[in-house]
Symmetry: C2
């Protein structure tokens, strides 16, 4: 590897002069500067960022740690990247495979020290595990789980989104709406918060809440959703609407309904959550709760930036508002 001292020797100057030429900290005489630049060019020198990071105590890099690079997270990441770069920092992604052990490793203080700040999308860690993470590094948590109070946290208005979607289908005539991929858990989780919204919509409309219509699925994949919904259909439980906890689940539902000859929205209305790009293209267009990626990204990066700039003060817990995008999978959609 070519180092500064190689360049210095080649140019017949000290390493500090090389550093000063390259970083323009102290002024360097024109002839000397020219010799240094020539040597840099000749040897193909590039600064060693590891050394600079050690010396500077900063890396000008932010990590976004996500469970997988798929779908929702990919879309959020694409929103976050330019915001981080606007602050003159780099963004890198790390993956945890939604596995609590991997997440703990990712947030091990050792790993964190490589970054000036971390956006951690929490999927596998519960509050108890998270509270064991002690570090002075700025961290902002993203995700739908409960987290310890002392972390900055951005989450979605899950309940409200689910309520919007369900109320919309009720208004358009559905009376038996599955909550596909939701759960009856009492703790705050994505799947239970969204189920609560589904319940609230029923109560608001004076409709009974039937727990048989809450249908959990094994994994959050389209395939699991498809086979689970096929089971529901086979069981004979009557339904005329589906609130899918995520668009990935909605997609599996679309496939299952089509394979059983059920028409959307005439036989069954369908609404999802996440407003993935594909959702507007899958005929007849899937009505979906838009999670407001841009807003989430802005809040998260904003909070992180404030902490990195040394901002103190109590942790903030942001609930980002969501909105319903109506498409052809519910009646009245275009």
């Amino acid at each position: 590897m070519v180092t500064m001292s190689d360049v210095a020797r080649e140019a017949g100057v000290s390493v500090m002069t090389v550093s000063n030429v390259l970083n323009e900290r102290l002024p360097v005489g024109a002839p000397t500067r020219a010799r240094v630049l020539a040597a840099v060019e000749a040897l193909g020198y590039e600064v060693n960022l590891t050394a600079r990071h050690l010396r500077a105590g900063r890396t000008d890099t932010v990590a976004l740690i996500v469970p997988s690079f798929h779908d929702y997270f990919g879309e959020v990441a694409d929103q976050i990247a330019p915001l981080v770069e606007a602050h003159g920092r780099h963004l890198v992604l790390e993956r945890t495979s939604a596995n609590a052990q991997h997440e703990m490793e990712a947030v091990s203080v050792a790993r964190l020290q490589l970054y000036d700040g971390v956006l951690l999308s929490v999927a596998g860690l519960d509050p108890e595990q998270l509270s064991r993470v002690r570090t002075s590094k700025p961290i902002v948590l993203l995700g739908e789980r409960d987290v310890p109070d002392h972390f900055d946290h951005v989450r979605l208005a899950n309940e409200e989104g689910a309520r919007l979607a369900t109320a919309h289908m009720i208004e358009r005539g559905s009376r038996r709406i599955l909550a596909l991929g939701c759960t009856l858990d009492q703790t705050h989780m994505m799947t239970s918060d969204r189920r609560v919204g589904w319940e609230v919509a029923h109560r608001d409309a004076g409709l009974p809440v039937d727990e048989r219509y809450v249908v959990p699925i094994a994994t959050y994949s389209s395939e699991a959703a498809r086979s689970t919904l096929l089971d529901v259909i086979a069981s004979g439980l009557p339904f005329d609407g589906i609130f899918a906890a995520t668009d990935v689940i909605a997609l599996g539902a679309v496939a299952a309904l089509a394979s059983r000859g059920l028409h959307v929205p005439d036989d069954v209305q369908l609404a999802g959550f996440d407003n993935l790009e594909v959702s507007s293209f899958v005929p007849p267009g899937i009505t979906s709760v838009d999670p407001n990626h841009r807003g989430v990204a802005q809040h998260a990066v904003g909070l992180l930036h404030r902490r990195m700039a040394g901002g103190a003060g109590p942790a903030e817990h942001v609930v980002a508002p969501v909105s319903l995008v109506v498409r052809g999978s519910t009646r009245g959609g275009r």
Copy 2:
């Protein structure tokens, strides 16, 4: 920050003893070890990886540099991650926004020095620009563009995949097949290689090749595909099949066809390329060329690993085989 020397002071030993306890290089007496571990625990010490990286000259980290975190790249990344981790290294992703300037920055030798190896998904850089990248760091290129000979490179059998898909639709009765999202370029690019496969299938079947059926699109988005296809329909050009250059494009085509009341596959057969997960769930299931992510990932990581282990020898240029997955969007699919 808590450093080794803080721990050393707390435990009343030298820093080397702390290092030896933590890394188990030289043996340390049991009582001393216990004191050190207690001090580590008490102070919450974690190793500073930046310092270790500088000293070791390695980072045990591989970067995957992609144009965006969407769709295809997200899926490839999820395949690559476990393979890299199996070699005891970390994987991080960086994003270039398919922008040549960003790509050049990403491969600036400075940035590379943070990693032991780099997988670079080339979207914006042409061979001439790439050949200016001089570094001794192991780099493996991914992607469908031509690259300088001295780089290891993994690409797909684009032409063969397109030929398979097109021949399949011809066999099932299509006679006027659009090449949507393809181009007439003569240089090797994804869009032109796939167009060549479309041509070859026609010639193999003794059918004429009509260049009016090659329909480029402005951006590789579903939305652009949809509006472009709507224009084609409006133009009155008759067609009974579509080979879409990517599944993202196929998805836009599905939406356009549905909105014009054209039935897939009865009125128009449709086949895509990439076999995205969604493609098997969008009714009636999109026939697609499977790009063999797993194989690509294995080749790429294998090549990189060999180079990182010091393997010399000429650069390899791998063309990963692809296969056709037949679904309901072509006749005879399930």
